[in-house]
């Protein structure tokens, strides 16, 4: 297990280093000058130059790369060009929306998908299975932004149960915030749940054909007992992979849902920062997202090892 951990951690650090270089170079070659953007349509060139100097844009690339990495290691991400506040503060504020929203959406999708997958698998070929998988197929096909708009039209404009968007901030109370995140979480969760339940179903079906299940059945366990005691844990491996991917995707990929619900999340911050050429924010968020993805993959790997002991013993992991 120790060797497994060290190997994983090493590849994690290397990935991060390569990622920062790629991110920095990509940002360097992006056309468009942040200072010119901020000064807009009519301006004097000397004011733009003054602003460039103020933002530190007149220094060399290598110097800026080194100071960027140094700063990040010390937790200092620099000052946003447009907002003029520390980037770390900006990201922390947005993460307070995006992380809870992602967890909320994943909880919803897992709570729906796992029972649906297991029930369909157990009822394979029967009417329940057909109906559930039919619904899941629709769930995969329905675009989540369209579904989100339907939710808003029904629950906000017609019934008035939820506000149509916005986020009150955690100091307004837990209930208010959860309420504000509910419709967005449902919109995000639906397609994810649909995918997950299909994966869960086929995974359970596969596991049910394994030798150890046959052995368990032979020693007298019912189909259900065999599934719960021996099957589920093994069936979870592909589901964990998908969950890990979904978590990273939802963290910043919820931008369309964030826009529809006017939520101040990470996705919108990245998008807006790219448009406004607030490149220091873009760099930092992309780096953090890479970090999040790499870390989640790492955690998923650990979970594999936990559900399947063979993976930590063998060198195949």
């Amino acid at each position: 297990m120790g060797r497994f951990l060290v190997k994983r951690l090493l590849s994690l650090s290397l990935t991060m280093l390569v990622a920062t270089v790629i991110i920095f170079i990509m940002i360097e070659v992006v056309p468009g000058d942040p200072a010119a953007y901020m000064m807009g349509l009519s301006t004097s060139t000397d004011a733009t130059e003054a602003l460039r100097a103020e933002l530190g844009l007149d220094k060399g690339s290598l110097e800026r790369y080194v100071s960027w990495i140094e700063g990040m290691l010390g937790g200092d991400f620099g000052i946003s060009y447009t907002y003029r506040v520390p980037v770390s503060e900006l990201i922390a504020e947005r993460a307070m929306v995006s992380v809870p929203l992602t967890i909320y959406a994943l909880l919803l999708s897992t709570c729906i998908a796992i029972p649906v997958g297991v029930i369909s698998a157990a009822a394979r070929g029967k009417i329940t299975d057909t109906v559930l998988m039919g619904v899941a197929q629709v769930g995969v096909a329905v675009p989540n932004f369209w579904f989100a708009i339907l939710l808003v039209l029904l629950f906000s404009t017609s019934l008035g149960l939820f506000s149509a968007g916005g986020f009150p901030g955690w100091d307004a109370g837990f209930y208010q915030c959860i309420k504000a995140l509910t419709l967005p979480a449902i919109s995000l969760a639906l397609p994810q749940a649909a995918i997950l339940s299909r994966v869960m179903r086929s995974s359970v079906l596969e596991v049910m054909n394994e030798d150890y299940i046959r052995t368990a059945r032979a020693k007298g366990l019912s189909k259900r007992q065999a599934l719960i005691r021996h099957g589920l844990r093994n069936a979870m491996i592909p589901v964990l992979t998908i969950l890990g991917l979904q978590f990273s995707f939802l963290l910043a990929g919820g931008i369309i849902i964030e826009s529809i619900f006017s939520l101040p999340g990470l996705g919108r911050l990245v998008f807006q920062s790219i448009a406004q050429r607030d490149l220091i924010v873009v760099k930092s968020i992309v780096t953090l997202l890479v970090f999040a993805v790499v870390t989640i993959t790492f955690i998923v790997d650990l979970l594999y090892a936990w559900v399947d002991p063979r993976l930590r013993e063998g060198e195949s992991g």
Binding site: Y83, G166, F167
Partner: protein, 492 residues
Amino acid sequence: MAKARAFTIIALLVMVNGHALAQPINVGLQLEPPNLDPTSGAAAAIDEVVYGNIFEGLVRIDENGDVQPGLSLFWEVSTDGRSYIFHLAEGVTFHDGSSFDAHDVRFSFNRARSAGSTNAKKYIFAPIANIDILDPLTIMITLDQARPDFLFNIGLGDAVIVAEETVATNASRPIGTGPFKFDRWVRGDRIELSRNENYWGSAPRLSGATFKIITDPLSAYTAMKAGDIDTFPNYPAPENLFLFDEDPDYDVVVGLTAGETILATNNKKEPFSDIKVRRAIAHAINRQELIDGAMFGNAQAIGTHFAPNHPDYVDLTDMYPHDADKARALLREAGYADGFEASLKLPPATYARRTGELIANQLGRVGINVSIENLEWAQWIDQVLRNRNYDLTIVSHVEPMDINIYANSNYYFGYDNADFQYIMTEIDHSTDAAMTSELYKQAQRKIAEDAVNGYLYQLGKYGVWKKGVKGMWANYPIRSNDLRDVYIEEQD
């Protein structure tokens, strides 16, 4: 019981009177301001929140674009038009409690015109030769020459008065003298203001205002309909305005912005350097089709670069009426009988993209084969505005009274015309109002005759508010949602 009845009567009286008790208002805003300091950066969204509410200038521009007293209650102008004596209001304090006087005015103006200034409109301070404090409440500003637009310019958001002690933090915690003070900013979500109880002028009727940022046009619709928003002063979706028009619970007020939407043309580049080609383009344009197709009928055609609601505006929309045959004939005369290829670089604004599709089609009908290139704003500023690497583009010039950009031969149109430049210098020196007005009319005709750009339409301002919301601006002579006179009438 008697007490309860008395309360009821008071409540009824208040309602009959039509005035609600002080309450806050929720204002929808499509673009979030990058910061809240109007004296740095050019983002219109900054003024939409702070102008007239948090910050005030020596003079104030009102809903009609007229200059009103601001921190200066009245002023005297010397007969040569070069020096202004401003008499400042007494007992004015900034929101942090510090007092306001002539030193703050001098500091604000000196900062804006200093060498390291990042003021986007630094040029409006350029004519200032001297600033003399006569006494704490009287200040004299001397210009190097008479400038008829000086008073209007110092009414802009770029010239508001700031305090030296708080200037460094105005971007995130603005401290001004206005009727509302800044409370907090939840970035990406909302900006909260509350009434300044120590305001020097007449107290605003609202107890506060929350500007909510709603980027998505469809979400603007749902937020209004769900009642999250009381007013959307610049509603971003003209396509569904009719849904509010039909709804008795809302008022729709279509006004004008200061945004001349033009088909900007690279006058320095072949074949656009040929006036016949530019006139052919002018004849090829069908404004009504653009207004109906791109703006759902809610915009006003223009024939020159001037706001149609300005008293000096000349309607020149008939100078080059839509006539495809005439356009083809002019192209033939210019030696382009078979037409030519051109690129149209479009910024991401919805009006530009929608209008661009139609323009490409209209020009195609006379033989100009237009290929559309969609750009981000940052790319647009880089390629079109700075490097003039373009043929045609569509953009709305939202700065008020900006016809003088045609006098700058280095501007991205590349229009270099001595006659026009002469008219502008005359305006700069003019001290006579009637003369200035005549010169502005000449200037409008000149650029229209030369067909410098294709003049399309004045961008509309689509105000949507709940019935009962009163006092919102109908027009945007400058980008401001001045809330000092806004109130919400109780509805039964």
